[in-house]
Amino acid sequence: MAKSALLKSSIAKKYWMALTGLFLCLFLVGHLAGNLQLIFGTPLQFNEYALFMTTNPAVKILSYVTYISILFHVVDGFLLTIQNRKARPVGYAKTNPGANSSFSSRNMAVLGTLVLIFIATHMTNFWAKMHFTTMPLQTITIDNGGQVSSFYITSGWGQDRFINVNQVDGENLIIEGNGFYYTKPIKVQFAEGYKDLHKITMDFFRSKEKLFGVIPNEGLFFTIFYVLSMAVLGFHLWHGFQSAFQSLGLNSPKWTPTIHFIGKAFAVLVPFLFAIIPLYIHFTK
């Protein structure tokens, strides 16, 4: 009897690689749009965005899909590579791979592993700080007729610890939440020790500290590391984007040239825009 093996067969592995890879490409677009606020937005905008990304339920679901995609993509890619090594136990004495395939296409596993190292580093740098450390949030102090209290700023995503900033009008703002509801303007002042993800990011790429006590100027070090990692991602996508369509069986003389073109444009543009963020931060101020 004919039996399909939608998890195990060689072709099924390709479907999973392609689906997870393409989902990660979508993720990149979203992540890029958010991160570009570091250049084009205000600190408050960026922090609101960061809070939204860590608390909104829809985003939460999406983030779990992203983690699972990365996991599947990595495990599947690993299995694929192992099996492919086994398929040729004795190698050739003389090879000429450049004659028939691109550098990217031959080095997807190595490029992917470098991307994985980047993802791990990047998540320790920011994501872990956001999730696991008691990072001081951007706060405001409110003087309500002599009664001084301190609040976290947020656009309000249903958490009673937070207050909702409805309108910023010079030094006055109208707030609601946490049992308070103010309609009249209240004098506010930003609390001292104001610290947030925006500031953490700025400090990170501008840090003059020594990394592990040996590498001088860790800000510059990480800027270079991030830029190089984006180049690696670009090479991975140079082959990967169009490869995913082929894996899913989407190949036709009519559409394939367009898919190749979009894939190459994506592979250059997206990593490039990501890379200018650390460069911009490091080399300004």
Partner: protein
């Protein structure tokens, strides 16, 4: 106007007694090779020299010597069927080489293609894939229908014919960094999937052929496209995509 001349070459050839023994590269000098001769004729010349020296001649596969049977194999200077495109080894000529060249000649390398002797490999894995589904079951009890009585769109007929041009040489496997047989299987699946006669058994065909392909130990395609470039018959990657579609359809 012929510009044939004679060249002297150094050959580095894989020698291996049988499947069980370990092989190795041996070096041979061969003088006065006409650039008008084919690569296989050059090997014949080498074997004559070896026999005269009372040495074991090099075993290599060949049959038609005109690019239609797919027997001749050989990984020459790092490329399947040598430094030219759209040809089998029997169609490769010594004019592609220069005086003083060193030429590596190795067998197809794949777990599924064990070396039988020297440059000869066992390609029956391809036969088993074919037997798993590369056919159309026809009632031959005297009431067969003329194939031409079934209308086939010209475009489909052309594509099926192009897929059927595959001669099962195994260059796609040999050149693929993953040792994947998907161009071969894609061509074999496509040549039936496109025609009305093949549609009846399409589901079992693709599932069975892919399962057999995996069992034989071929690798997983990562779309490097090397096979399409080295295939002597210009089998297109579109056939792999079609197989992937067929497999998905059959699985759902």
């Amino acid at each position: 106007m012929s510009t044939a001349k004679n060249i002297n070459i150094t050959l580095k050839i894989w020698r291996q007694k049988n499947t069980k023994t370990k092989g190795g590269i041996e070096t041979y000098k061969l003088d006065n090779v006409s650039t008008a001769s084919s690569f296989l004729e050059m090997l014949d010349q080498l074997n004559e020299q070896l026999v005269n020296d009372r040495k074991e001649p090099v075993a290599f596969d060949h049959d038609c010597r005109e690019g239609i049977c797919g027997s001749c194999s050989l990984y020459i200077n790092g490329r399947a069927h040598g430094p030219d495109t759209g040809i089998t080894t029997c169609q490769l000529h010594m004019r592609m080489f220069n005086d003083g060249d060193t030429i590596y000649v190795e067998p197809w390398r794949s777990k599924a293609f064990p070396v039988i002797k020297d440059l000869v490999v066992d390609r029956t894995a391809f036969d088993r894939i074919q037997q798993a589904g590369g056919f159309v079951s026809v009632n031959t009890s005297g009431n067969t229908i003329d194939a031409n009585s079934l209308p086939v769109p010209k475009d489909d007929a052309d594509k099926a014919f192009m897929a059927a041009a595959c001669i099962g040489c195994g260059a796609c496997v040999a050149t693929c960094k993953n040792g994947s047989a998907m161009l071969f299987v894609g061509a074999k699946v496509s040549q039936y999937a496109l025609l009305p006669q093949g549609k009846v058994e399409a589901t079992e065909r693709v599932l069975n052929m892919v399962r057999q392909m995996d069992e034989e130990g071929f690798g997983n395609c990562t779309n490097t496209g090397a096979c399409e470039i080295e295939c002597p018959k210009g089998i297109s990657l579109e056939n792999i995509a079609r197989m992937n579609r067929e497999y998905l359809k059959a699985s759902l």
